[in-house]
């Protein structure tokens, strides 16, 4: 039974730490983009495009954490073995 408890805790805390790092990283990226647009409003098209690409790259790190959390919760490769061991 403890196996499943640890699975929940791992998924929850993993996602939280992943989201925390992503928030900080994307915040720094948007800060620079907004400063760039403020200095040079004519270049806002290119700056926004680059910012979108950068944000998607950083977001993908949080999504890797999400995929791992989903695998732990829903596609756990060890849960069958654990259930077998527990039922004995």
């Amino acid at each position: 039974m403890e196996f499943f408890t640890w699975c929940m805790i791992a998924a929850g805390f993993g996602m939280a730490i992943g989201a925390f790092g992503t928030g900080l990283g994307q915040g720094i990226a948007i800060k620079s983009a907004v400063e760039g647009v403020a200095r040079n409003p004519a270049a806002s098209g290119k700056i926004l495009t680059t910012m979108m690409i950068g944000l998607a790259m950083i977001e993908s790190l949080a999504i890797y954490v999400f995929v791992v959390a989903m695998i732990i919760l829903f596609a756990n490769p060890f849960s069958a073995q654990v259930i077998e061991l527990l039922s004995k």
């Binding site: 979108m52 998607a56 977001e59 999400f66 995929v67 989903m70």
Partner: protein, 224 residues
Amino acid sequence: MVHPFLYLEWAEQQLNTHLGTHVTYTWVVMLILIAAGFAASRSIKMVPAGFQNFMEVVVGGVESLIDETMGPKGKKYFPLIATLALFILVSNLIALIPGFFPPTANLNTNAALALIVFSMTHIIGFKEHGLHYFNHFTGPILALAPLMFIIEVIGHLARPVSLTLRLFGNMYGHEIVLLIFFGLVPFLAPLPMMFMGVLVAFIQTFVFSLLAMIYIAGALEEAH
């Protein structure tokens, strides 16, 4: 977590086939794209109007993006990039229609698309440079060539993995969030998430096709 009701999944259960929702919904996306192609080109006029105008804007946009990223040598690869972009865009957008499942929310579709991009970069690299393509992997200093080769190979292998997982995570995560919202408060609460879904659909299409263009441009350029 309640399993959502999907029209084609119900149809499959009636007919007792085991194709999987990602295959049948890929067929739906194909039908939509082929129908759009026919509708836009039925009576081509010199001064476009209506649907032909809309498709010309889309095609013009993709062409200008390719020109910006890959230069004049990239014109040949316009069909590949445009197909990828349109397929991923339509697949992402049908996620928002209740009863439809986006084929890009399944790992298999995304892996197929990412492997296409990966193999095209290397095939194009070998076609363009011949055996000098290996110079791309060795880096500037000759003494460090074996180490650089290993590092570059690992970097190249990480590309299809990241392409697949980025698109899969975005689409599947969005589907799960919508499922949970529909389970909790089905009245008006899923609406903001669906707006974000439209935004995420466009952004992920843009990022996938832009990365494909950058990888192909990297294979086309001169090595040092």
